[in-house]
Symmetry: C2
Subunit: 136 residues, 2 copies
DNA sequence: CCAGGTGTACTACTATACTAATACAGTGAT
DNA sequence: ATCACTGTATTAGTATAGTAGTACACCTGG
């Protein structure tokens, strides 16, 4: 049903499983994979990407720990129903802080950064709406 | 002149040199180290942190590549004069994108995220002003 | 010139992260 | 019951990232 959604660079500095984690999280957040949607099996994905099933399984395990997906033995893995309502936003605050530091050293001021932020938000919403449209 | 500004956890998942890079970048962005300010020598820092001078040197090398500091043989290392005016903001855009994805999976909506963003910006400015005040 | 400070280059050890091979275990259709 | 599909556990090989030891090169003040 789905074509080759994911790709992987074995020579990247980022480990393969991490690349998968990132891509799947992004796909889910972008609405490409709605809640409840079944993902390809570990073997299928591994086959497409020419990697070991265990590597895919590792990515899935991490994603489950983060509440992004649910794994069911014998059935498959699925996008979690609800983006967990977070109690602990520490990690997010840290990432935000890191973003500000990075911006500073790139010479990007508060005003310009704010604009980039809004642009990113808009693009994200736009993407989700397009995805919704495909279902009609 | 400066007390123990930096600390390091050898058992952290992040390598020591990376911890140093992060802390020094944050310190520079926060105004703790104004442009031109000399940093502790590799041996001094290594001594304080009970690590190998080469590890500090590695952090310094990375920071120089990023334009944060300048190293001068026989003299020392110093905070770069100007936060380089960035031509390539790709890395920043990627980090921003990752932030949105992260926020989504934590159940943080656009509105709430925007608020966190503004808060972080304010805190950052506040911090810099306090730092400026210490010089008077 | 020399001494004592700076950063730097080279080499090598070692822990472990990453991946893979293989076998195990749950589910559902036939 | 069996089969064909799911995910899971265990083990092990291997590349390499991280760190450290040691020696080198540069600068400045005496």
């Amino acid at each position: 049903m789905f074509g080759l959604r994911f790709f992987v660079d074995p020579r990247s500095a980022l480990p393969i499983y991490q690349q998968l984690v990132n891509q799947i999280k992004a796909a889910a957040a972008g609405g490409l994979y709605p809640p409840g949607q079944q993902l390809p099996s570990v073997r299928e994905l591994a086959g497409q990407l020419a990697i070991n099933p265990n590597t895919v399984a590792k990515a899935f395990r991490i994603l489950e720990e983060q509440g992004v997906i649910e794994r069911r033995r014998g059935l498959g893995t699925f996008i979690a129903q609800k983006p967990a309502v977070a109690k602990d936003l520490t990690s997010l605050r840290i990432k935000l802080q890191e973003l500000l530091v990075e911006a500073y050293h790139l010479g990007v001021g508060p005003q310009e950064l704010r604009q980039m932020f809004e642009t990113a938000l808009n693009n994200w919403n736009k993407g989700k709406e397009e995805q919704r449209g495909k279902g009609n």
